[in-house]
Structure formats: C-alpha cells, structure tokens
C-alpha cells in the first residue's frame, strides 16, 4: 500500500511534488495535468502593479542559470479576479506567494488574499526591506520575525516562510520564522550571483546581479534544509536544483516533508509529473511505503568511515 501522501501542518498533499514560485503559471496546463501536483504555488504577487527588472532577465552559467526577473506583478486585485478562479478547478491546495517592501504591507497583502480558494500563503521574504538598509528581510532573524509576526496577525491560513541562501544566519532565521508563527519553511530561494560577457564586458543580466538556480544550487539548498530541519519543529519544504528523483529523495532524507521544483521545469516542462511517477517507482524498488519513512531519515550519526584514528600527523 504505497502512498505518496504527505502533510505540511494542516495541509494534506497527495504527493510531495510542487512547483517553485516564479517557475509556474496557469500556462503549464498546456503541457501537463495540473491536478496531478501536490500543490500549486504561484509567482510572487505584490499588492500594487510592478514592472520587474530590465532585460536581459536570465542568462545561463555552467549547468545552472541566473535570473533577475524581479517581481513584475499585476497586483492583488487582478490576481483575485483572474488567477484564483483558474486554480479553483483543481483539487489541489493553492499557495499564493506574496512580497512587499514593509512588514505592514506584507500583512495587508496577506489579508487581501485570505479568500476562499487560497489554501496557504508563501511569504517571500527574499525581497529588499525598504524601511531599513534594503537588505532582504530573510537575511536577518529580526526582520524575518517582524514580517512573520505581522502576517501571522493578518490571517489564519497556513503560512510558509521562504528563506534565502544569502545569509550567514540560516538557523537563526528559521527559528525566528517559527517563533513568529510560520507553519512551514521553504528552503530556499535563489543565491545572489553574477556573470559578465568577456567580449562585451557587460554584465549578462540587465540588473547586474541575479539569483542562481538549478543543479548548482542543490548542495547548498540541501545543507540549509538539513540545518533547518534540525533547528525547528515545523515542516521543511526543500527547494533548489531538484531535477531527478534521487534529488527528491535526498531532500526528503535530509528532513524535507515536500519539495518544490523550479528551474528543471524550464528544461523539461513535464518534469513534475515524471518525478511523481519516478518517486513511486523508487519507493517501490526500495521497499519504502510512505513518504514519512524517508523524511529526516539521514544517518548522520554514521557519517565517518572510521578510517582516521589519528593522534598525530606524520
């Protein structure tokens, strides 16, 4: 009786595979059955309309990509009128990613989206804090806590805090989000990076710098997922570079309860559907009957191979 079900707090997902914000939209219905996914996670939306960053907005680097899309947004009103109704046709939890420049605006945006059809809010705190030095909220525990407290006060919906790899305080930020009432953590967003065209000497992104995503990010996101799973008691949703079923399983073993797939969808549009099938096959082949049997099953006490008994160095 193999089951792919998993739970993120109050939310039951039919399987642990969902899209990452900004790499998914209604348009994917042209390619696969959106009803098959564990959850739907929409592109980050802001309360007002926004333009996003100058083009070029993406470039590729060795085995990965950079993006500086920014958060072009048609605003919450448009989102409520056009996007939420679209997803209501599916029996899949709809998670809406939001962003804002201040904690209060986060709360207002969150409240406006607390409507039937929205199953949860993903709080994208990787955006600049406009009231302080412009550093992303997710870079510090204090600013993370400030935002999460405000949004917690604004809704009873499940709240997922999306962490950033651009910090030296991963576990502190995770704990701050938990303390402020987050129901789960999404680990993680893109990592700030850059590339320059050596022929033109121009940065390859219009915005100079952008976020690294894809396979190169995986070992970093996996480390952060493991650290967070050990630092908090709320579920972790792994995200970063996932493109094979082994990647999915690796995140689950590290402590994630579900995963998000981003950039891989750009390379193979139907990949999420395939990963669901592959995960079932992997579990069958390995005699694992439930996702919960994988989650956090890392044998971290048995890491060393015991070959070093050194008291001195030759």
């Amino acid at each position: 009786m193999l089951s792919l079900e998993t739970r993120i707090g109050a939310l039951a997902l039919k399987n642990p595979i969902m899209p990452a914000s900004g790499t998914f939209s209604e348009d994917l219905a042209d390619v696969l059955d959106l009803g098959a996914l564990g959850a739907h996670v929409t592109k980050t939306v802001t309360s007002e309309t926004r333009n996003g960053n100058p083009t070029p907005r993406v470039c590729e680097v060795r085995g990965a990509m950079l993006n500086s899309i920014g958060i072009p947004s048609k605003g919450v009103a448009h989102f409520l009128d056009h996007v939420v109704p679209f997803y209501s046709q599916f029996d899949v939890p709809l998670i809406v990613s939001i962003s804002a420049g201040t904690a209060d605006e986060f709360a207002r945006t969150c409240a406006a989206l607390d409507v039937p059809g929205v199953a949860g809010i993903e709080v994208n705190i990787s955006c600049p804090n406009l009231e302080e030095d412009g550093k992303a909220f997710a870079m510090r525990p204090s600013t993370t806590e400030a935002v999460m407290q405000k949004v917690r006060g604004a809704t009873a919906l499940p709240l997922w805090a999306k962490l950033s790899p651009n910090t030296g305080e991963t576990t502190e930020v995770a704990q701050a989000a938990e303390a402020a009432g987050a129901d789960a953590l999404v680990v993680c967003n893109t990592l700030l990076a850059m590339a320059i065209d050596v022929e033109t000497r121009r940065p390859t992104l219009g915005n100079l710098m952008g976020g690294l995503s894809g396979p190169s990010l995986k070992p970093i996101a996996l480390r952060m997922s493991y650290q967070c799973a050990n630092a908090v008691d709320i579920p972790i949703i792994g995200c970063g570079g996932i493109s094979t079923v082994e990647d999915v399983v690796e995140f689950l073993i590290a402590g994630a309860t579900a995963v998000q797939v981003g950039t891989a969808t750009f390379i193979e549009a139907g990949i999420m559907e395939r990963l669901i099938a592959d995960l079932r096959a992997w579990m069958q082949a390995h005699g694992v009957s439930s996702v919960a049997d994988l989650v956090g099953s890392v044998r971290d006490q048995e890491a060393g191979d015991g070959m070093l008994l050194a008291e001195g160095v030759s």
């Binding site: 900004g22 907005r57 993006n67 899309i69 390379i267």
Partner: protein, 281 residues
C-alpha cells in the same frame, strides 16, 4: 539530462495539451549557404499542429566545452504533417546553435512545442506582403504555405546579401508567390528602394496586410507605410527565453498600446505581435 520521451502518452494527451516534449530524429542537417543550416527532423504527429510564426524550444546537445543548459527558441521553418517532418533554418551564433550544427542524421533532438502565437491571415484578405531579411526568412517561410492554403496571394520581398536568400526564394516561388529580391550586392536593398518597391505594390495591385520579423529598419519603414496606407500588419519578435511557455517572465518586451507602454511575453503573447504596437530598439 535524460528527458522522458512521453510518446506513450501521446494518444490521451493530444487535444487536451498543446505543447509536447518529444525526441525527434534528425533526417538531415546541412549548410544551405554561408551562414545558415537547414535541420530536418522526423517528428510525431501531435507536435505538427503548427501555425506559421510559432516556435519550438530545442534542447541543444553539448559538444566539447559547450554545455548549453537552457533550451533555445527556434522558429518553425517548415512543418509537414503528412511526412511527419519539421524543419528549422538556423544561424550558428553560440553554444546552443554550435551544438545543433553537430547533429548528424539519425541523432536525437529533443524539442518542446509548438509554442507561442503565430501569424494569422484574415479571412477577407486576398493579397498580403511579407518583407524579410536574413534569417528572418526562417520565420516567415511557412506563411507562404498558409497563404496558398487560404487562397491568398502573396508578395514576398526578400532582402539579403546576394546568395543568402536563394533557398527561401525558391520556396516562395514554389508556393506561387510573387518574389521581389533586393540585394546589397546589386545595391537594391537600401531603405529608399525598399520603400519604392513596397509603395509600388500597395499602389498597384494593393496589399491587405504586412508581415515581417526582426529588422528594426524594416519595422520602422513598415510602421510608417502601414499608418500612411492604413494597412494592418504583424511582426515576429525575438527575446531571450527560459521557459518558452509564459511562466518565467524573462522574455518580456515593451509595446506601445495607444501611447501607454505595456510589457508582453514574447513566448506567450507573441512571438507575433501587432506591427503598430511593436517598438524598434
């Protein structure tokens, strides 16, 4: 990256889905003139439900130090459902197209598509004109067949360095189009002369719509003539792409919609846009 050839699911998915990830088999891949190569692949039926102006997103093979990671967008140069064939005309410019150029007959090429919104010929139009230069011909070529299928006369104004355009010129003639060639070599491809040629057609037998792609110079000229003669038009644009499907918003360009700038996704709202709304750059 191993990509599932989902052909097994083809039956149930056709109709419901519009874009497909499929492994195709290379039939030929030859240089057609100085800069361009023609890639012909055999493709399953479900991906051949194409419109001229649409594109495929190609997973280009790695070769040597080149490891193209993202897919590369490529206009449909030709598609033939009866023969199960798909064609691309491309110019080798970087890692991805260098990879394409290494494909030999029998090799696999993973394609994703058809994608985007193509050209349309209004049912009441009986004589249309396409104006193309260089690799832009790749995008406009299938319009000739469409015009013939709709019993619409076509005037193809092809501008190029002398020998480059020959392939498409033959193709256009085969489709019964009137072909006007303007070349740098003969000194006939300048904007001034191009304008005269177009005006002569408009004022002569008449033109119901303009079709073009790419070149800023041609865009500006056609916009002027289109306004002056009140002839509608369509243009196919390019922009860097990641997803090709409308999800990532990387491929946006600005358009002038009645004096207001709006952003649209080249992969989704385009690549074919209204001639007047396009902005040259």
């Amino acid at each position: 990256m191993t990509v599932l050839d989902a052909a097994v699911k083809a039956d149930e998915s056709v109709g419901r889905f519009t874009a497909f990830t499929r492994d195709t088999i290379v039939k030929s891949n030859e240089a057609v003139n100085g800069d361009y190569r023609l890639l012909v692949v055999s493709a399953p039926e479900e991906i051949l439900n194409c419109t001229p102006g649409q594109f495929f997103h190609l997973l280009c093979p790695s070769e040597g130090a080149d490891h193209p990671y993202l897919r590369r967008p490529m206009s449909i140069y030709g598609y033939d459902r009866a023969r199960g064939e798909l064609q691309f005309l491309y110019k080798v410019t970087g890692a991805g197209t260098r990879g394409l150029a290494t494909l030999t007959p029998g090799a696999q090429l993973n394609v994703f598509g058809p994608l985007g919104r193509g050209y349309s010929i209004a049912p009441d139009h009986s004589r249309i004109m396409l104006v193309a230069r260089g690799v832009g011909l790749a995008t406009l070529a299938p319009l000739a067949q469409q015009a013939r299928d709709q019993d619409c006369e076509l005037v193809a104004v092809c501008s190029a360095r002398s020998p480059d355009m020959l392939l498409s010129v033959d193709l256009f003639r085969d489709m019964g189009a009137k072909v006007i060639t303007l070349t740098d070599a003969e000194g006939t491809s300048g904007t001034q002369n191009l304008q005269h040629v177009i005006e002569a057609e408009v004022e002569g037998q008449g033109v119901d719509a303009f079709y073009t792609c790419g070149s800023n110079r041609i865009l500006r000229l056609l916009q002027t003539l289109s306004r002056r003669f009140d002839i509608p038009g369509q243009i196919a644009l390019e922009q860097q792409m990641a997803c090709g499907l409308g999800m990532c918003q990387c491929c946006v360009r600005s358009f002038d919609r009645g004096g207001r700038f709006v952003q649209e996704r080249v992969c989704r709202e385009g690549p074919v846009f209204d001639l007047q709304e396009a902005l040259s750059c």
